[in-house]
Symmetry: C2
Subunit: 221 residues, 2 copies
Protein backbone atom coordinates (compact mmCIF):
# COMPACT_ATOMS: atom_id res chain seq x y z
CA UNK A 1 0.00 0.00 0.00
CA UNK A 2 1.35 3.43 -0.99
CA UNK A 3 1.80 6.02 1.75
CA UNK A 4 -0.32 9.16 1.75
CA UNK A 5 2.51 11.33 0.41
CA UNK A 6 2.77 9.14 -2.68
CA UNK A 7 -1.00 9.01 -3.08
CA UNK A 8 -1.22 12.80 -2.94
CA UNK A 9 1.61 13.21 -5.43
CA UNK A 10 0.08 10.84 -7.97
CA UNK A 11 -3.61 11.62 -7.51
CA UNK A 12 -5.32 12.90 -10.66
CA UNK A 13 -8.92 13.08 -9.59
CA UNK A 14 -10.88 13.52 -6.39
CA UNK A 15 -14.60 12.80 -6.69
CA UNK A 16 -16.91 13.66 -3.82
CA UNK A 17 -20.51 12.74 -3.29
CA UNK A 18 -22.93 15.37 -2.00
CA UNK A 19 -25.81 14.94 0.45
CA UNK A 20 -25.13 11.31 1.30
CA UNK A 21 -26.32 11.23 4.92
CA UNK A 22 -29.98 12.01 5.54
CA UNK A 23 -29.50 14.19 8.62
CA UNK A 24 -26.85 16.30 6.89
CA UNK A 25 -29.24 16.89 3.98
CA UNK A 26 -31.78 18.24 6.45
CA UNK A 27 -29.37 20.53 8.30
CA UNK A 28 -28.47 22.35 5.07
CA UNK A 29 -32.16 22.60 4.05
CA UNK A 30 -31.43 20.59 0.94
CA UNK A 31 -33.59 18.12 -0.93
CA UNK A 32 -32.87 14.46 -0.35
CA UNK A 33 -31.44 13.36 -3.71
CA UNK A 34 -33.16 10.66 -5.76
CA UNK A 35 -29.78 9.76 -7.17
CA UNK A 36 -26.26 10.56 -6.01
CA UNK A 37 -24.52 13.64 -7.36
CA UNK A 38 -20.82 14.34 -7.47
CA UNK A 39 -18.27 17.09 -7.71
CA UNK A 40 -14.53 17.32 -8.21
CA UNK A 41 -11.92 18.72 -5.87
CA UNK A 42 -8.48 19.45 -7.35
CA UNK A 43 -5.48 17.39 -6.13
CA UNK A 44 -3.82 20.72 -5.28
CA UNK A 45 -6.29 21.09 -2.40
CA UNK A 46 -4.82 18.13 -0.47
CA UNK A 47 -3.26 19.05 2.88
CA UNK A 48 -0.92 16.29 4.06
CA UNK A 49 -0.69 15.25 7.73
CA UNK A 50 1.38 17.74 9.74
CA UNK A 51 1.75 20.05 6.74
CA UNK A 52 0.38 23.07 8.56
CA UNK A 53 -3.01 24.71 8.98
CA UNK A 54 -6.01 25.03 6.71
CA UNK A 55 -5.83 28.50 5.20
CA UNK A 56 -9.03 30.51 5.30
CA UNK A 57 -9.32 32.77 2.24
CA UNK A 58 -10.39 36.29 3.04
CA UNK A 59 -14.15 36.72 3.19
CA UNK A 60 -14.80 33.00 3.27
CA UNK A 61 -17.04 31.15 5.73
CA UNK A 62 -15.22 27.86 5.98
CA UNK A 63 -17.08 24.67 6.95
CA UNK A 64 -15.63 21.26 7.88
CA UNK A 65 -17.13 18.01 6.56
CA UNK A 66 -15.47 14.83 7.84
CA UNK A 67 -15.64 11.95 5.35
CA UNK A 68 -14.41 8.45 4.76
CA UNK A 69 -12.17 8.45 1.67
CA UNK A 70 -11.44 5.61 -0.73
CA UNK A 71 -8.11 5.41 -2.52
CA UNK A 72 -8.55 3.48 -5.75
CA UNK A 73 -6.16 0.65 -6.48
CA UNK A 74 -7.10 -0.04 -10.05
CA UNK A 75 -8.92 1.20 -13.11
CA UNK A 76 -12.69 1.00 -12.80
CA UNK A 77 -15.23 1.52 -15.57
CA UNK A 78 -18.98 0.79 -15.67
CA UNK A 79 -19.09 -1.03 -12.35
CA UNK A 80 -22.35 -2.86 -11.71
CA UNK A 81 -24.01 -1.26 -8.64
CA UNK A 82 -24.74 -4.73 -7.25
CA UNK A 83 -21.09 -5.76 -7.51
CA UNK A 84 -20.05 -5.21 -3.90
CA UNK A 85 -17.01 -7.45 -4.23
CA UNK A 86 -15.87 -5.65 -7.39
CA UNK A 87 -16.16 -2.34 -5.57
CA UNK A 88 -14.15 -3.53 -2.58
CA UNK A 89 -11.52 -5.15 -4.80
CA UNK A 90 -10.97 -1.86 -6.61
CA UNK A 91 -10.10 -0.04 -3.37
CA UNK A 92 -6.43 0.09 -2.36
CA UNK A 93 -6.97 1.60 1.05
CA UNK A 94 -8.86 4.19 3.03
CA UNK A 95 -8.21 7.67 4.35
CA UNK A 96 -10.10 10.01 6.59
CA UNK A 97 -10.47 13.43 5.01
CA UNK A 98 -12.08 16.78 5.71
CA UNK A 99 -13.92 18.21 2.71
CA UNK A 100 -13.44 21.88 3.59
CA UNK A 101 -16.06 24.04 1.92
CA UNK A 102 -16.31 27.78 1.39
CA UNK A 103 -19.97 27.72 2.39
CA UNK A 104 -20.82 31.30 1.43
CA UNK A 105 -19.13 30.86 -1.94
CA UNK A 106 -21.02 27.59 -2.44
CA UNK A 107 -24.35 29.15 -1.44
CA UNK A 108 -23.80 31.92 -3.97
CA UNK A 109 -22.86 29.41 -6.68
CA UNK A 110 -25.97 27.33 -5.95
CA UNK A 111 -28.20 30.37 -6.17
CA UNK A 112 -26.73 31.37 -9.53
CA UNK A 113 -26.49 27.84 -10.95
CA UNK A 114 -22.70 28.13 -11.13
CA UNK A 115 -20.06 25.41 -10.59
CA UNK A 116 -18.86 24.42 -7.13
CA UNK A 117 -15.21 24.05 -8.10
CA UNK A 118 -13.97 27.22 -6.41
CA UNK A 119 -16.00 26.72 -3.22
CA UNK A 120 -14.49 23.27 -2.84
CA UNK A 121 -11.08 23.78 -4.37
CA UNK A 122 -8.94 26.24 -2.41
CA UNK A 123 -5.42 25.15 -1.47
CA UNK A 124 -5.40 23.25 1.89
CA UNK A 125 -9.15 22.51 1.60
CA UNK A 126 -8.66 18.77 1.88
CA UNK A 127 -6.79 17.73 5.02
CA UNK A 128 -6.14 13.99 4.94
CA UNK A 129 -5.04 11.34 7.40
CA UNK A 130 -2.41 8.72 6.81
CA UNK A 131 -3.37 5.70 4.71
CA UNK A 132 -5.53 3.13 6.46
CA UNK A 133 -5.04 -0.50 5.39
CA UNK A 134 -8.14 -2.32 4.16
CA UNK A 135 -7.64 -4.92 6.87
CA UNK A 136 -8.30 -2.22 9.47
CA UNK A 137 -11.77 -1.49 8.11
CA UNK A 138 -13.28 -4.92 7.39
CA UNK A 139 -16.60 -3.30 6.45
CA UNK A 140 -16.46 0.31 5.20
CA UNK A 141 -20.22 0.61 5.82
CA UNK A 142 -19.65 -0.01 9.48
CA UNK A 143 -17.07 2.50 10.64
CA UNK A 144 -17.60 5.37 13.04
CA UNK A 145 -16.21 8.74 11.94
CA UNK A 146 -16.02 11.82 14.13
CA UNK A 147 -14.73 15.37 14.17
CA UNK A 148 -14.30 17.81 17.05
CA UNK A 149 -13.55 21.53 17.08
CA UNK A 150 -11.57 22.93 20.01
CA UNK A 151 -12.37 19.78 21.96
CA UNK A 152 -16.11 19.88 21.32
CA UNK A 153 -17.57 16.94 19.40
CA UNK A 154 -19.34 18.17 16.24
CA UNK A 155 -19.74 15.16 13.98
CA UNK A 156 -19.98 11.57 15.11
CA UNK A 157 -21.83 8.99 13.06
CA UNK A 158 -21.54 5.59 11.50
CA UNK A 159 -20.95 5.06 7.78
CA UNK A 160 -23.92 2.68 7.78
CA UNK A 161 -26.03 5.85 7.56
CA UNK A 162 -24.95 6.58 3.98
CA UNK A 163 -27.93 7.00 1.64
CA UNK A 164 -25.98 5.60 -1.31
CA UNK A 165 -23.52 2.89 -0.41
CA UNK A 166 -19.99 2.57 -1.76
CA UNK A 167 -20.68 0.14 -4.65
CA UNK A 168 -23.48 2.40 -5.91
CA UNK A 169 -21.18 5.44 -5.65
CA UNK A 170 -18.37 3.73 -7.56
CA UNK A 171 -20.87 2.47 -10.10
CA UNK A 172 -22.36 5.89 -10.75
CA UNK A 173 -18.98 7.60 -10.98
CA UNK A 174 -17.40 4.92 -13.16
CA UNK A 175 -20.28 5.05 -15.63
CA UNK A 176 -19.44 8.70 -16.25
CA UNK A 177 -15.70 8.80 -15.88
CA UNK A 178 -13.07 6.10 -15.61
CA UNK A 179 -11.69 5.80 -12.10
CA UNK A 180 -7.93 5.40 -12.24
CA UNK A 181 -5.46 3.95 -9.75
CA UNK A 182 -4.67 6.65 -7.22
CA UNK A 183 -7.96 8.53 -7.63
CA UNK A 184 -9.71 9.41 -4.38
CA UNK A 185 -13.44 9.20 -3.66
CA UNK A 186 -14.94 11.03 -0.68
CA UNK A 187 -18.11 9.31 0.45
CA UNK A 188 -20.08 12.15 2.04
CA UNK A 189 -20.39 13.75 5.44
CA UNK A 190 -22.77 13.05 8.34
CA UNK A 191 -24.69 15.75 10.19
CA UNK A 192 -22.99 18.35 12.33
CA UNK A 193 -21.07 20.43 9.79
CA UNK A 194 -20.29 23.96 10.81
CA UNK A 195 -17.86 26.87 10.59
CA UNK A 196 -14.25 27.01 11.69
CA UNK A 197 -11.87 29.90 11.49
CA UNK A 198 -8.17 30.57 11.80
CA UNK A 199 -6.81 29.17 15.07
CA UNK A 200 -9.57 26.63 15.66
CA UNK A 201 -8.29 23.11 16.17
CA UNK A 202 -10.06 20.30 14.34
CA UNK A 203 -9.48 16.74 15.44
CA UNK A 204 -10.94 13.80 13.59
CA UNK A 205 -10.80 10.06 13.80
CA UNK A 206 -12.32 6.75 12.90
CA UNK A 207 -13.37 3.84 15.09
CA UNK A 208 -14.03 0.24 14.16
CA UNK A 209 -15.81 -1.90 16.76
CA UNK A 210 -15.34 0.91 19.25
CA UNK A 211 -11.56 1.00 18.82
CA UNK A 212 -9.59 3.92 17.39
CA UNK A 213 -7.80 3.30 14.14
CA UNK A 214 -4.51 5.12 14.79
CA UNK A 215 -3.74 5.99 11.15
CA UNK A 216 -7.00 7.92 10.92
CA UNK A 217 -6.17 10.34 13.71
CA UNK A 218 -6.03 13.89 12.45
CA UNK A 219 -5.32 17.22 14.07
CA UNK A 220 -5.46 20.37 11.96
CA UNK A 221 -5.26 23.94 13.13
Amino acid sequence: MANIQTVARNCRKIMCIGRNYADHVKELNNQRPKQPFFFLKPPSSILLPNAGPVLRPRGVTMHYEVELGLVMGKTLRDLDPEDTQGALDAIEGYILAIDMTARNVQDEAKKKGLPWSIAKGFDTFMPVSNMIAKSQIPDPQNAHIWLSVNGEMKQSDNTELMLFRIPRQLSDISRVMTLEKGDIVLTGTPKGVGPVTTGDVMKAGLKVDGKDVQEANMEVA
Copy 2:
Protein backbone atom coordinates in the same frame (compact mmCIF):
# COMPACT_ATOMS: atom_id res chain seq x y z
CA MET B 1 8.24 21.01 -24.78
CA ALA B 2 6.43 17.81 -23.76
CA ASN B 3 4.24 16.10 -26.33
CA ILE B 4 0.48 15.91 -25.79
CA GLN B 5 0.62 12.25 -24.72
CA THR B 6 2.98 13.12 -21.88
CA VAL B 7 0.94 16.17 -20.95
CA ALA B 8 -2.24 14.08 -20.77
CA ARG B 9 -0.54 11.38 -18.70
CA ASN B 10 0.83 13.84 -16.14
CA CYS B 11 -2.03 16.34 -16.00
CA ARG B 12 -3.57 16.71 -12.55
CA LYS B 13 -6.00 19.55 -13.05
CA ILE B 14 -7.98 21.09 -15.89
CA MET B 15 -9.55 24.45 -15.09
CA CYS B 16 -12.00 25.99 -17.50
CA ILE B 17 -13.47 29.45 -17.57
CA GLY B 18 -17.17 29.89 -18.29
CA ARG B 19 -18.88 32.64 -20.31
CA ASN B 20 -15.72 34.33 -21.51
CA TYR B 21 -16.90 35.59 -24.91
CA ALA B 22 -19.78 38.10 -24.92
CA ASP B 23 -21.68 36.62 -27.86
CA HIS B 24 -21.52 33.12 -26.39
CA VAL B 25 -22.98 34.44 -23.13
CA LYS B 26 -25.92 35.84 -25.08
CA GLU B 27 -26.60 32.68 -27.09
CA LEU B 28 -27.03 30.63 -23.91
CA ASN B 29 -29.24 33.32 -22.33
CA ASN B 30 -26.76 33.73 -19.52
CA GLN B 31 -25.79 36.79 -17.55
CA ARG B 32 -22.54 38.46 -18.48
CA PRO B 33 -20.33 37.74 -15.48
CA LYS B 34 -18.87 40.57 -13.41
CA GLN B 35 -15.97 38.32 -12.59
CA PRO B 36 -14.71 35.12 -14.19
CA PHE B 37 -15.92 31.78 -12.90
CA PHE B 38 -14.29 28.43 -13.29
CA PHE B 39 -14.96 24.73 -13.22
CA LEU B 40 -12.86 21.57 -13.26
CA LYS B 41 -12.80 18.83 -15.85
CA PRO B 42 -11.14 15.54 -14.85
CA PRO B 43 -7.92 14.48 -16.64
CA SER B 44 -9.73 11.22 -17.48
CA SER B 45 -11.90 13.17 -19.94
CA ILE B 46 -8.97 13.93 -22.27
CA LEU B 47 -9.27 12.38 -25.74
CA LEU B 48 -5.87 12.27 -27.45
CA PRO B 49 -5.45 12.99 -31.18
CA ASN B 50 -6.53 10.00 -33.30
CA ALA B 51 -7.70 8.09 -30.23
CA GLY B 52 -11.18 7.50 -31.59
CA PRO B 53 -14.53 9.24 -31.38
CA VAL B 54 -16.21 11.27 -28.67
CA LEU B 55 -18.64 8.92 -26.96
CA ARG B 56 -22.13 10.27 -26.44
CA PRO B 57 -23.64 8.92 -23.20
CA ARG B 58 -27.21 7.70 -23.59
CA GLY B 59 -29.79 10.46 -23.15
CA VAL B 60 -27.21 13.22 -23.40
CA THR B 61 -27.41 16.29 -25.63
CA MET B 62 -23.77 16.85 -26.37
CA HIS B 63 -22.45 20.33 -27.30
CA TYR B 64 -19.03 21.28 -28.68
CA GLU B 65 -17.13 24.33 -27.40
CA VAL B 66 -13.83 25.01 -29.13
CA GLU B 67 -11.27 26.69 -26.86
CA LEU B 68 -7.66 27.77 -26.72
CA GLY B 69 -5.90 25.76 -23.99
CA LEU B 70 -2.84 26.70 -21.95
CA VAL B 71 -0.47 24.03 -20.69
CA MET B 72 1.28 25.31 -17.60
CA GLY B 73 5.05 25.05 -17.42
CA LYS B 74 5.59 25.94 -13.81
CA THR B 75 3.96 26.41 -10.45
CA LEU B 76 1.88 29.57 -10.21
CA ARG B 77 0.37 31.05 -7.07
CA ASP B 78 -1.23 34.45 -6.47
CA LEU B 79 -0.33 35.90 -9.86
CA ASP B 80 -0.88 39.64 -10.14
CA PRO B 81 -3.59 40.23 -12.79
CA GLU B 82 -1.46 43.00 -14.32
CA ASP B 83 1.54 40.69 -14.67
CA THR B 84 1.19 39.81 -18.36
CA GLN B 85 4.79 38.71 -18.63
CA GLY B 86 4.50 36.48 -15.55
CA ALA B 87 1.43 34.85 -17.07
CA LEU B 88 3.11 34.20 -20.40
CA ASP B 89 6.28 32.91 -18.71
CA ALA B 90 4.24 30.35 -16.77
CA ILE B 91 2.81 28.83 -19.98
CA GLU B 92 4.74 25.91 -21.49
CA GLY B 93 2.71 25.69 -24.68
CA TYR B 94 -0.76 25.78 -26.15
CA ILE B 95 -3.34 23.28 -27.30
CA LEU B 96 -6.64 23.53 -29.06
CA ALA B 97 -9.35 21.67 -27.19
CA ILE B 98 -13.05 20.98 -27.39
CA ASP B 99 -14.83 21.37 -24.07
CA MET B 100 -17.60 18.83 -24.73
CA THR B 101 -20.61 19.50 -22.55
CA ALA B 102 -23.67 17.42 -21.70
CA ARG B 103 -25.91 20.44 -22.15
CA ASN B 104 -29.12 18.89 -20.82
CA VAL B 105 -27.27 17.56 -17.76
CA GLN B 106 -25.70 20.99 -17.23
CA ASP B 107 -29.06 22.78 -17.62
CA GLU B 108 -30.57 20.48 -15.01
CA ALA B 109 -27.61 21.05 -12.66
CA LYS B 110 -27.90 24.83 -13.07
CA LYS B 111 -31.58 24.75 -12.29
CA LYS B 112 -31.01 22.73 -9.12
CA GLY B 113 -27.86 24.55 -8.02
CA LEU B 114 -25.83 21.36 -8.38
CA PRO B 115 -22.21 20.94 -9.51
CA TRP B 116 -21.21 20.83 -13.17
CA SER B 117 -18.64 18.08 -12.77
CA ILE B 118 -20.68 15.30 -14.40
CA ALA B 119 -21.95 17.47 -17.27
CA LYS B 120 -18.37 18.37 -18.14
CA GLY B 121 -16.56 15.23 -17.09
CA PHE B 122 -17.54 12.19 -19.16
CA ASP B 123 -14.76 10.12 -20.69
CA THR B 124 -13.72 11.49 -24.13
CA PHE B 125 -15.30 14.90 -23.35
CA MET B 126 -12.07 16.78 -23.99
CA PRO B 127 -10.62 16.15 -27.43
CA VAL B 128 -7.24 17.88 -27.71
CA SER B 129 -4.86 18.79 -30.50
CA ASN B 130 -1.13 18.22 -30.49
CA MET B 131 1.01 20.63 -28.52
CA ILE B 132 1.54 24.03 -30.11
CA ALA B 133 4.86 25.74 -29.39
CA LYS B 134 4.69 29.20 -27.86
CA SER B 135 6.66 30.58 -30.78
CA GLN B 136 3.74 29.68 -33.06
CA ILE B 137 1.31 31.89 -31.14
CA PRO B 138 3.25 35.10 -30.47
CA ASP B 139 0.15 36.71 -28.92
CA PRO B 140 -2.45 34.33 -27.44
CA GLN B 141 -4.99 37.17 -27.48
CA ASN B 142 -4.70 37.38 -31.22
CA ALA B 143 -5.36 33.90 -32.56
CA HIS B 144 -8.30 32.79 -34.62
CA ILE B 145 -10.02 29.57 -33.52
CA TRP B 146 -12.67 27.72 -35.48
CA LEU B 147 -14.75 24.57 -35.45
CA SER B 148 -16.87 22.99 -38.16
CA VAL B 149 -19.39 20.15 -38.03
CA ASN B 150 -19.76 17.95 -41.12
CA GLY B 151 -18.02 20.62 -43.15
CA GLU B 152 -20.18 23.50 -41.96
CA MET B 153 -18.43 26.27 -40.06
CA LYS B 154 -19.98 26.71 -36.60
CA GLN B 155 -17.50 28.67 -34.52
CA SER B 156 -14.94 31.12 -35.88
CA ASP B 157 -13.67 33.98 -33.76
CA ASN B 158 -10.56 35.66 -32.51
CA THR B 159 -9.25 35.24 -28.97
CA GLU B 160 -9.10 39.04 -28.73
CA LEU B 161 -12.84 38.80 -27.95
CA MET B 162 -12.25 37.22 -24.52
CA LEU B 163 -13.99 39.17 -21.75
CA PHE B 164 -11.28 38.23 -19.23
CA ARG B 165 -7.81 37.97 -20.68
CA ILE B 166 -5.30 35.25 -19.89
CA PRO B 167 -3.34 37.06 -17.12
CA ARG B 168 -6.59 37.82 -15.32
CA GLN B 169 -7.71 34.19 -15.66
CA LEU B 170 -4.42 32.83 -14.34
CA SER B 171 -4.49 35.40 -11.56
CA ASP B 172 -8.00 34.48 -10.44
CA ILE B 173 -7.34 30.74 -10.59
CA SER B 174 -3.96 30.92 -8.87
CA ARG B 175 -5.38 32.97 -6.01
CA VAL B 176 -7.70 30.06 -5.26
CA MET B 177 -5.64 27.04 -6.15
CA THR B 178 -2.01 26.58 -7.01
CA LEU B 179 -1.47 25.93 -10.71
CA GLU B 180 1.08 23.17 -11.15
CA LYS B 181 3.33 22.24 -14.06
CA GLY B 182 1.24 20.20 -16.48
CA ASP B 183 -2.11 21.66 -15.47
CA ILE B 184 -4.32 22.77 -18.34
CA VAL B 185 -6.45 25.91 -18.51
CA LEU B 186 -9.22 26.23 -21.10
CA THR B 187 -9.88 29.88 -21.87
CA GLY B 188 -13.52 29.86 -22.93
CA THR B 189 -15.49 29.41 -26.12
CA PRO B 190 -16.75 31.93 -28.68
CA LYS B 191 -20.30 31.98 -30.03
CA GLY B 192 -21.71 29.22 -32.18
CA VAL B 193 -21.85 26.25 -29.81
CA GLY B 194 -24.36 23.58 -30.67
CA PRO B 195 -25.20 19.90 -30.60
CA VAL B 196 -23.37 17.01 -32.21
CA THR B 197 -24.23 13.37 -32.15
CA THR B 198 -22.64 10.03 -32.97
CA GLY B 199 -21.24 10.04 -36.50
CA ASP B 200 -20.91 13.81 -36.84
CA VAL B 201 -17.42 14.94 -37.79
CA MET B 202 -15.96 17.91 -35.93
CA LYS B 203 -12.95 19.67 -37.36
CA ALA B 204 -11.19 22.46 -35.53
CA GLY B 205 -8.18 24.60 -36.06
CA LEU B 206 -6.27 27.74 -35.18
CA LYS B 207 -4.90 30.48 -37.40
CA VAL B 208 -2.29 33.10 -36.66
CA ASP B 209 -2.01 35.99 -39.12
CA GLY B 210 -4.36 34.14 -41.43
CA LYS B 211 -2.14 31.03 -41.55
CA ASP B 212 -3.12 27.60 -40.22
CA VAL B 213 -1.08 26.30 -37.32
CA GLN B 214 -0.69 22.65 -38.31
CA GLU B 215 -0.38 21.26 -34.79
CA ALA B 216 -3.82 22.66 -33.93
CA ASN B 217 -5.64 20.75 -36.63
CA MET B 218 -8.20 18.41 -35.15
CA GLU B 219 -10.67 15.96 -36.61
CA VAL B 220 -12.94 14.02 -34.27
CA ALA B 221 -15.84 11.80 -35.21
